[in-house]
Every structure is written in structure tokens, then in C-alpha cells.
Amino acid sequence: MSVKKKFKGLSDKAVGWLFIGPTVLLLLAINIYPLVYAIKMSFTNFYANKIGREPQFVGLKNYIKVLNKEAIWEKMQVTASFMFWTLLLQAIIGLGLALLLNRKFKGNELLTTLIVLPMMLSPAVVGVFWTYLYNPQVGLFNYVVNFFYDLGSFDMIGSSTLAPWAIVIVDTWMWTPFTMLICLAGLRSVPNYLYEAAEVDRASKWQQFIYITLPSVLPFLLLALLFRGIENFKMFDMVVELTSGGPGSATELASINLKREAFEKWKTGYSSAFAVILFVTIFGFGNVYVKVMNKIKER
């Protein structure tokens, strides 16, 4: 009653603004303002740790420097490779698990709960305990691998060939359940009559999968991969705990390098330019991806 009284005389639009106002203000304060500030900083030679030194306008110098730096492209390549393999594996395994769990069998619920457990853990904790699992002397991972195929002593996080795979394996272990859950939601939304009609038309199980299951679940899978792609582009904590970006720079993702430039070297202007470039990259890819996804949905 009192709320009604308060809002009496306010238009619907005004009430609407009243509701979304705090959120908009919060977004402006913690998202938009820092973004605009970072863009402004990216055109300066600002160092946040050099107290009293006024930042000077340097035009596009920081952007040119970032784009011409070979090391940056190496980090982007490491990031791209990490994203490609994690998304591919998570799509295949996640979809496979969803298909499995979509069937009714004894212990289905328990198995689902167990599979989902890794994604409930903190990435930093996951990074730390996988360093133990990967330990060449006492690690369970090495023991299991050697149990099936005797490779002898190998160091997953100390070898530049294996370390990139080490982070891919951990991320896949942790986040495949997420892809699985989204795919499972997709699978459960496919109406049964489609399969019944296919049965009548004597479609094989494979044909049912290709022509009914896959098209139905694809938009869900693409959505899951979009979320995972954005997350993995910014991946930081798990990899830092696991490899610190090493050996050398074999697993130094763009986000780890950005943190080092911004908050260890304190090259604020330069790292702002790098951050803007990363933002534009992910924003651009994200937009294209969403458009493609919508087209697939429309089919």
C-alpha cells in the first residue's frame, strides 16, 4: 500500500528507471569508468608507481609498441592454442558425457554430481593440487600414465612440450562438466516425437543423432563454448598456480603477461593499451560468434 502511494504519479518509464538506476550507476562506476580511464591512460606514458611524475600524451605509441612486440604475439599464440584445445576437448567430452547422462540408468544422479564436482572448486586450489598430481616422483598423474604405458620419468610442468598440455588437461578436467550441463539441458529439451517420427521413417541411430540430436543441441553447445572461450581468454589464476607461466614463457597467457606489465612492472600506459587491444579482440570475436550462433539457431 505504502509503495503504491510512493509511486503514485510516476510514469511506468520513471518507475523502470528507478529500478534499473542503481544497477546502471554501479555499472558506470565499476565497469564503464575504468574502461574509459584505461582508454585514456593507453595514450599516455603513465607509470602508476612513479609518484609525482605527470603522465604525458604519447598518441598511438603504446599501441604500436604492443603490436610490434614479438613477445606479445608469442603470448597471443600460447593463448590461442590453449583456447583451441580446451574448447575442442570440452566440446567433444562434454557432449559425450551429456549423451551418456541423458540415458536413464542406475546411479545417473550420483554420477552427474561427481562429474560436476571439479567446476565447484576454486581455480587457484585446482592449480595447486594439480602441481602435486603432476609431480614426477610422487604424482598420481604420472603413476597412472606409467601404469598403462611405461614412459619413465617425465615432468609435465617442467617441460616446454608438455606444460601447455598440462594446463589444457587441468582446464578440461575442471570445465568439461559445465559444457556437459548446458548440453544436457539442450538434450532434454528435444521433443520425443521427433525421435518417434524418425523411428517410423526407419532412420538409424546415427541418422537420428546427425539430423535431430546434433542440430538441437548445437546452439546450447555453442553458447557453452562462448562462455568458456571468454573465460579462457582471461584465464589467470589456475595457470599461475600451476606453472607461473613457465617453463620460461611456454604457458604465459596474454592475461598473465598483462598482469606482469601492469602490476609488477607498473607500465600503466603500455598495459592499458594492451588491455584495450585484448578487449577489442574478445569483443570482436564475441560479436562475430554470436552472429554465427544466431544464424545457426534460425536454421
Partner: protein, 434 residues
């Protein structure tokens, strides 16, 4: 109810007044000496009534946490025991209080402290008479070894037969390598053992502190002594290249499996668990290692071996008053107390490494512990990484390039050092030094 509220308010108010007026906060790394300092400080509180709160940050986050605090002009800490390399930034950016007037007023003389520690922990510009810290904790990178294994007659004779000299404290890095490879993969008491746990950490400063122990011993200089910041031919001299190549050989042939991202704690763990014959680490840890010798383990300690010259990587810290503190007077009182010779002696007795001449020059000092002589030897030959205000910017490319070469096996030692110089030139140019 009203009375209770008033009482509560009064007690809260008096607590906050009390805690603000008679307490200070000291920040340091979380490690054994910090616990010793906490113990020692109880006497300060008993004498002065000033409570000292401690915030100890684990080493991997120590620099990040403290430097962020200083850069943000934070008031969390009144006293900071900051790493030796921070002194440049502390002075130039005004984070630390200049202590000259205070020292003069209180009769604290820097000549009472070991010259190497005053130079390293207190002065900026280096070697000047501008003091921004009191030497608090002397330290250098050194080695511990399994003396009980070295004393076994069968191992001694086998080693002598193979190498033609006695198994014992290595006289140089070549001998260290011989001994490490001797133990690598050897079965002792039914367990497989390895040569040495050396610094290979990528994230903060680990591998740099380790590799420079070799580079200094080979005679590396950072720059032309007559032309500051001229590094070409000095930092990447043939000796420096040889040292880095040697360090990689040591890692490949002597480190235990999986020792690819290891620093202080990992080295201690490898040693304490009986995996390795040697560990590289800071003197700060030797009291703990010595005290924990058990199950037949007997530890010996020695200063960094020489190669072309005698040298060791400097560790340790000075204690500074934070400029942004509202309680500078109380913080200075702590420094005045800490500088007293009797307090310095207790500091050493509790496991801290005093830099005071009265302690170090005492006739009983060299024999006071098994590592005391090594500490004295080391403090006479220490060399430090750049102490420039931009030291983090200088450290990061070195960490990456050296780790890439030593652990990752990528490229050449010369290539790694050239790459570091390239990055350093950029840093010095941006800082207006070049």
C-alpha cells in the same frame, strides 16, 4: 540498557584510542626469522609499552603486497623490513623516511654495522651517506649438504677413486658439479637420491637469485664500472655466458625430477625429505635446518663456492620507517631499540642474522653455530641485483629469459643474456638513465 550501551561505547572508544596511540604494525616476509623477531619484540613491548602487530606475507606474494601498499601510500605498516632491492624505490619515490637526522640525534652510527650490509640495505644512492634503513637481517645465498652421507667411508673412497680428491665441501663449482652428479640417482639406505635442489622458480625472483650465484662466482659484472648502465660485454661477457651454461648443466644433471619451479620452500622440502645431497638456500633457513636434523641426518653448511672469484648472492633486508605512517615517532623508537648492541646479540641468539659489528666481531661468533663462519665469509663477498627504483622491471625479463634457457632448454645462454640487456636498456631509457 542505556548504561550497557554507554559502557560498551566507552570501552570500544578506549580500546581504539589505546590501540592507535601505543601500537605499531611491522610488515615482513613470513619465514623463520620473522618468528624470531616476534619473540624478540616482546622485550620491546615490555620496556616501552608499545604493542607491535606483525603482518607476515608469504614470499611469493611479499613484493606484490608490500610494493602495492607503498605505491598506494598505504598506512597499514609503520615499519617495513623490505628487500634490499627496494631501497632505490623507497628513497626515490619517497616511501621510506630518511634516517640520517634520527641516527645523528640518537647516536646511532652506521660504522657500528658491517659495511657490506650498510651499503646493501641502507644507502641510496649506493655508497652514499643517505640512510633509509637500519641493517636488520644479514643474509646471503649459501649451501647445505648431507654431512652424514659425506662421512660414509664407502662413499668417500668411491668418490676419491673416481675423481681423485676428497668428498667434502666443494672448493669450486666444478667440484660441486662432480659431487652432485656422484649422488644423482644413487641409492642410499634403499632410497633413490639426487644431487642438488637449486633455485629454478619462475614467478618472483628465484631463478635469478640462483643463477647469479654462479654468474658472480664466474666474475660477471652488471655494468661497466666506469660507465654506468653500459652492460654490453659485462653482463653478457664470456664468463657470464659460461656461468649460465653451467647452471643449466647443474639443473639438467643434478636436480631431482620435477624441480622446475622451485625456490626456498621447495629446496627445503627436497632436502628435508632426504631427496638431495645439497640444497641452495638463504642463511636465514639454516637455524631451522640445523635444529631439525634428525633420523641420522647431519647437515653441513658452506658459503657459495668460488669459481673465478669468491662471491655470493646477497639476500637480507633493512628495517625502514614508512613515510605514510601516522606513528613515525613510535616506529623510530623501535629502530632505536633494535639498534642497541644487546638487542642485536639477542637477535642473533634467537636465530636472526645481526649485522652489528659487536656481534659479528665477537671472538665467540664464528663458533657460535655451525653456519656462523660461513655467514661471516659470505657477508664479505656479497653482490646484489640492481637496486634501482625500477628493479622489478629489471627482474622480470631476467626471470623469463633465464627460465626459458635453463629449465625450458630454449635458445642459448648468450641469446638469453642479450635479450635481457635489450629489455634492460628499454627500462633504463624509460627511466631517463640512458
Amino acid at each position: 540498557m542505556k548504561k550497557i550501551m554507554i559502557l560498551l561505547f566507552v570501552s570500544l572508544f578506549s580500546f581504539s584510542v589505546n590501540s592507535n596511540a601505543k601500537s605499531i604494525t611491522l610488515g615482513w616476509a613470513a619465514w623463520d626469522p620473522a618468528n624470531a623477531l616476534q619473540e624478540l619484540t616482546k622485550e620491546f613491548t615490555a620496556e616501552t609499552g608499545i604493542e607491535v602487530n606483525f603482518e607476515f606475507v608469504p614470499w611469493p606474494n611479499f613484493a606484490d603486497r608490500m610494493l602495492n601498499e607503498l605505491n598506494n601510500k598505504g598506512k597499514t605498516f609503520d615499519l617495513l623490513i623490505g628487500d634490499s632491492q627496494w631501497i632505490g624505490a623507497g628513497a626515490v619515490y619517497g616511501h621510506y623516511v630518511k634516517l640520517n637526522d634520527f641516527f645523528d640525534k640518537e647516536g646511532i652510527s652506521m660504522s657500528d654495522f658491517s659495511p657490506a650490509t650498510v651499503y646493501a640495505y641502507s644507502t641510496w644512492p649506493k655508497g652514499s651517506k643517505n640512510y633509509y634503513a637500519l641493517p636488520a637481517m644479514g643474509d646471503a645465498l649459501a649451501w647445505a649438504y648431507r654431512k652424514d652421507w659425506f662421512d660414509r667411508p664407502e662413499l668417500k673412497s668411491e668418490f676419491k677413486k673416481k675423481h681423485g680428491y676428497d668428498l667434502g665441501v666443494p672448493a669450486n663449482w666444478n667440484q660441486l658439479y662432480d659431487m652432485c652428479t656422484f649422488f644423482q640417482g644413487r641409492e642410499i639406505d634403499g632410497q633413490k637420491r639426487y644431487g642438488a635442489a637449486i633455485n629454478t622458480e619462475r614467478g618472483s625472483e628465484g631463478i635469478t637469485m640462483g643463477v647469479t650465484a654462479a654468474m658472480y662466482a664466474w666474475g660477471m659484472e652488471y655494468e661497466n664500472p666506469n660507465k654506468p648502465y653500459d652492460m654490453e660485454g659485462y653482463f653478457n661477457s664470456p664468463q657470464a655466458v659460461e656461468a649460465v651454461e653451467f647452471y643449466r648443466k647443474l639443473y639438467e644433471d643434478c636436480a631431482p625430477p620435477g624441480h622446475s619451479d622451485a625456490y626456498m620452500v621447495a629446496n627445503l622440502d627436497a632436502y628435508k625429505s632426504g631427496q638431495v645431497a645439497f640444497q641452495m638456500n638463504w642463511y636465514a633457513f639454516w637455524p631451522g635446518v640445523s635444529k631439525e636434523d634428525s633420523d641420522g641426518r647431519v647437515s653441513g653448511f658452506f658459503a657459495n663456492p668460488k669459481q673465478n672469484v669468491a662471491a655470493a648472492t646477497l639476500g637480507g633486508q633493512g628495517i625502514s620507517v614508512v613515510k605514510y605512517s601516522d606513528k613515525q615517532d613510535l616506529a623510530l623508537e623501535y629502530i632505536k631499540w633494535f639498534a642497541r648492541p644487546d638487542v642485536q646479540q639477542k637477535w642473533w641468539d634467537l636465530g636472526g642474522y645481526s649485522c652489528h659489528n659487536d656481534v659479528l666481531n665477537s671472538p665467540s661468533f664464528p663458533t657460535s653455530t655451525v653456519y656462523a663462519q660461513g655467514f661471516l665469509d659470505s657477508m664479505g663477498i656479497v653482490k646484489d641485483f640492481w637496486q634501482e627504483p625500477t628493479f622489478v622491471e629489471l627482474m622480470l625479463p631476467m626471470q623469463e629469459a633465464i627460465h626459458d634457457y635453463v629449465v625450458n632448454g630454449k635458445g642459448t645462454a648468450k641469446g638469453a643474456l642479450d635479450k635481457i640487456i635489450e629489455e634492460w636498456v628499454e627500462v633504463f631509457e624509460a627511466d631517463g638513465k640512458l
